[in-house]
Symmetry: C2
Subunit: 342 residues, 2 copies
């Protein structure tokens, strides 16, 4: 391990570490000649300042932490790419961690990142998180936090989300317009913002079209699709409902693909027996059998926006901040899975 330090340079050039340090940062009070010598030597020896030492001294790390439920999910991986695109341009590194829809993991990861002195956090809540004390505590200690996608309601900070209400409304309205009437909704844990907003959009669309809301058509999966049995139970209850729904509006990649699998496994056809629209960013949606109608979110842009918000929080004096909640438009792509057969 022969890594060159400022001390090595100082020794080699018979200078003090302070002089070397200042020379490297181009301080005006260093002799231009000395500066040149130091710069050249540092260049030649491929000197790189030790970021750990800097973190210790400055209590920051020029990196931002991202905590999301799963990377194996197109929405989140696209969002991360958005985060990276902004972060790198502004000189920050990105540290990714997954909570796997577990409160416990979220807690551990949050604390880890805080200890590692990330300069800020971008968070999409786990399916189990209704207690947000760990974030609140961090925030009072000065850690900037921006939520995206799954945002807490009673929490004052920047938030970025898709317009889940409108997205859900459009999806449901589309199904109604196609002639479906018994429309079920398969969704994530009830306490998540995305769940609530989508549910409201779904209900509103039904109401506006004079269709009564049937509570037994609404199924929550409190582990967000991480536990196959839970999804299976929910879907089977729908399929074997005395008045079987003729369409499902489902949230999330996993819930949607699982539903499709199960419907097929049970010998039913999509969309003839049950139509389906997913709230998902699956890139292979158009390749599915049948091609999947989907409400897609601008994941990349959401990641970008959240990051701009966060870096703003980090770099701007606190006093001048007014917190915002931004909603980005979703897009409904209609494909075969939601078309009423003639």
């Amino acid at each position: 391990m022969e890594v060159i330090t400022i001390k090595d340079i100082a020794k080699a050039l018979n200078l003090s570490t302070s002089t070397v340090s200042r020379a490297l940062r181009g301080s005006y009070e260093i002799n231009p000649e000395t500066k040149r010598l130091v710069m050249e030597y540092a260049e030649r020896m491929n000197y790189r300042p030790n970021p750990i030492a800097l973190s210790l001294k400055e209590n920051r790390s020029r990196s931002i932490g991202v905590i999301i439920p799963e990377i194996a999910n197109n929405f989140f991986s696209q969002a991360i790419n958005g985060v990276e695109s902004i972060a790198y341009n502004r000189g920050y590194h990105v540290v990714i961690s997954q909570n796997h829809e577990s409160y416990e993991r979220e807690l551990v990861n949050t604390q880890y990142l805080a200890q590692r002195r990330v300069d800020g956090l971008i968070v999409s809540l786990s399916g189990e998180s209704n207690d947000l004390e760990h974030f609140k505590e961090l925030q009072t200690k000065g850690m900037p936090i921006v939520f995206f996608d799954r945002v807490p309601q009673d929490y004052i900070t920047h938030k970025v989300s898709a317009d889940n209400f409108v997205g859900a409304y459009e999806a449901t309205a589309h199904l109604i317009q196609q002639g479906f009437r018994r429309i079920a909704h398969l969704t994530s844990p009830s306490w998540l913002s995305i769940t609530y907003e989508r549910l409201e959009g779904y209900k509103k669309a039904l109401q506006n079209h004079g269709i009564p809301i049937e509570e037994s058509y609404i199924k929550y999966c409190s582990h967000g699709g991480m536990i196959p049995e839970e999804v299976e139970k929910a879907v089977l209850e729908l399929i074997h409902h005395p008045e079987r729904p003729d369409a499902i509006f489902s949230a999330g990649d996993r819930l949607t693909t699982s539903s499709m699998s199960l419907i097929k496994r049970e010998g039913l056809r999509i969309p003839e027996d049950i139509a389906i629209v997913g709230f998902t960013n699956l890139i292979s949606a158009h390749l599915l059998n049948p091609a999947l109608s989907a409400v897609t979110q601008p994941a990349y842009e959401m990641g970008q926006l959240a990051t701009e918000f966060l870096i703003d929080l980090i770099e701007r004096p606190k006093s001048t901040i007014r917190f915002e909640t931004k909603r980005l438009e979703t897009k409904l792509v209609i494909r075969q899975s939601s078309l009423k057969p003639a």
Copy 2:
């Protein structure tokens, strides 16, 4: 930012930092009573040692870096979950970074992780990496590195990969057995290990069945599917080949889904006009239209194994190490996309 340090504890209890430090680590030379006091106070104040200070002092970070092409890829995200499962059990954190198939990004990420003093690296090479000097240099400086999936040939360290040769052989043999004869191969950059091994398996299967190898049926995508135009060009060349192939054996998620899209867009049917088998871990393979036959890799296990190798390298005295190259079995799942119509 009121984080409690060992110094604060020392001051509060009227002890020296050394005593507090030793008490916390349970040193035998501290009075049990003092120990109890310190422990209790630390517990009450929720003291956590500063990992940055430890990293600086010990020149290590109890974390391992993972550098992969893309997280938006089921194979890699499953592999990461495997890595995490082992790492967390053994007290290491995992830092993920993507190279997006770019040599430049790989270089930057490698250096970043090295500067951050990760204790070791788990790497799957970018599609552009034929120069491995950056890894070699790190390794001579003492950084343990384990490669997986895309492994370099002339590099002495632990390596973990799927048995690409056998996987490709089985896929190709399956197509032949189905009655296909003009079998094309759409694959990743030619210099990658996975490309070579799969190509060899493909060729061997053709040879063993007396089918001549047609070079114009073999298409490399030197950006591994990251550039849509490149894939499009390759697939279209196959589709419009004077002797159009009746089957494609394709590598990678992106290459496979792109091929399916393009074949459909060009008005051809799968498998009637062109059959397809993918080398992919797409979780929605069974939901595609048609259901996709695929060679899948034990991604999770590969991640686990690579991590065990790495932690072994990190913790074991160097002298006792004998480097291994492990190949794990792939699994061919036959679905509709590769079945010859009657």
